[in-house]
Symmetry: C3
Amino acid sequence: MISFLPKEEKFFVFLTQQAENVMKASAFFKAAIKDGVLDEAEVKKIRDLEHEGDTLAHEITDMLNRTFITPIDREDIYDLANSLDDVLDLLNAMAGRMKLYKLNPKDEHFAQFIDLIDQAAEALANAVRHMPDTKRQRRVLDYCIEVNRLENLGDTLREKAISHLFENEKDPITVIKWKEIYESAEGALDNCEHVTKLIESIMVKHG
Amino acid sequence: MISFLPKEEKFFVFLTQQAENVMKASAFFKAAIKDGVLDEAEVKKIRDLEHEGDTLAHEITDMLNRTFITPIDREDIYDLANSLDDVLDLLNAMAGRMKLYKLNPKDEHFAQFIDLIDQAAEALANAVRHMPDTKRQRRVLDYCIEVNRLENLGDTLREKAISHLFENEKDPITVIKWKEIYESAEGALDNCEHVTKLIESIMVKHG
Amino acid sequence: MISFLPKEEKFFVFLTQQAENVMKASAFFKAAIKDGVLDEAEVKKIRDLEHEGDTLAHEITDMLNRTFITPIDREDIYDLANSLDDVLDLLNAMAGRMKLYKLNPKDEHFAQFIDLIDQAAEALANAVRHMPDTKRQRRVLDYCIEVNRLENLGDTLREKAISHLFENEKDPITVIKWKEIYESAEGALDNCEHVTKLIESIMVKHG
């Protein structure tokens, strides 16, 4: 059922691991803010996951440098590893800035954003996991469509959140802070969609 | 005169249609704000054009998946379709946010931005339309240069608009809103320029 | 020691020149603000260097259009030339906005940012210079790692600078202005890192 040789499967194992890292970070983030607090240890845990992502991206690059034949173009594996890492970077940046800006994670719109990102990360991990399985190409596309659906919800949520912010928050500095956080959250969903575009373009090339 | 086989011409027909969609949206936007109001029906019309763009981008991807030989690299057709769609996305986002932020479209700098975007969209449509014509390659480059000229004007306009805003608007929340709109407008022009870079890089590859 | 034919070496000569332009602009910027003032002539000098960068990027594109065999893929040369130019664009934008926003370049965090960008530009120029030398590939990677290290310092500096800004600056309009400048500075470092990713991906392809 799997169409690639054992050695080359390792790339998909690594890429899947990278996608699962994103999922771990978003799931952890979601659980962490449930109690309305984001403490120093929780921010650190997200930072640690982000460092694991960096390490994994470098390992994938090293493996690319040592491998002669790759299942898909080397640049595409490289792009995929780095784009997944970009999602992780934004989650980490959001956690850090919440802390830095002394913002209260109880905010309803923020919790909804983290939930959307978490769902998108899960769909992405499923898409990447099924990529090497030539009989599941339709399913891979379905996961990509699911990510696009979540990204569209993110656009609507951003509008609602910013509109609510402008109407209810009178301190301009606080407006600036939350606006940045909401835009980073929307950016994380955009990055998830970017990963699906890479997956689709790889499938277009090999289709 | 046309150097590609009938079947493959379809890609250029679709890409040209995508570019014309961008042009339709910018021309409509420009006409809509002439009376100093952007009403709900007008925002919806721009949103509809943006949805058409999404549909077209997906049709192009589907066609890529079903076509064995393409006139230019599959990834390049894919990138071109999606980058044109990005311009449309930003026009749609601008219209939606004008409404959401309750901003007055009578603003002089805003009208000048929409005018620049409209001119750039027209030049882009002309560039894409002439791409398959091997005898018109010089003309394609001229349209690209015209887009770059408009993008440079956009940079200058942004400076003027933001400088005027900082000097005349005393409410920080209103400053935040208009600054975002002006930056989106400049971003739309940047995206137009990005499309010309794709066109140029395709011509470099096939040159 | 050099593995490419004379004619094709020219691309690396041009790319190195482009990287050195970035270095010149950052070094000049750093020296210019030493006295705590950024005057009109200094802003103009940075703008001139940016125009030289644009011209060089176009010359590289023209040369690509006239050359049949290139040492690395044409698109990669094209991307590299344009990404180096992006760093220059941001330096120019920062200088222009400092002036436009009437900000005082005496700001400590700003000076630290310019210093980081200057170090990154120097490492980039060294990386590009050694690319054609097949015996120095390890050294090229070391310069890339150095750029990544500086980009990480930039992330930390951004946090410090924004945190300091939010705590000490009470005028929201001034907060908006400096926040944009710091984010452009961080963006310039991100662009430097992007160039290293291009270099790494070229080395992955040819590895």
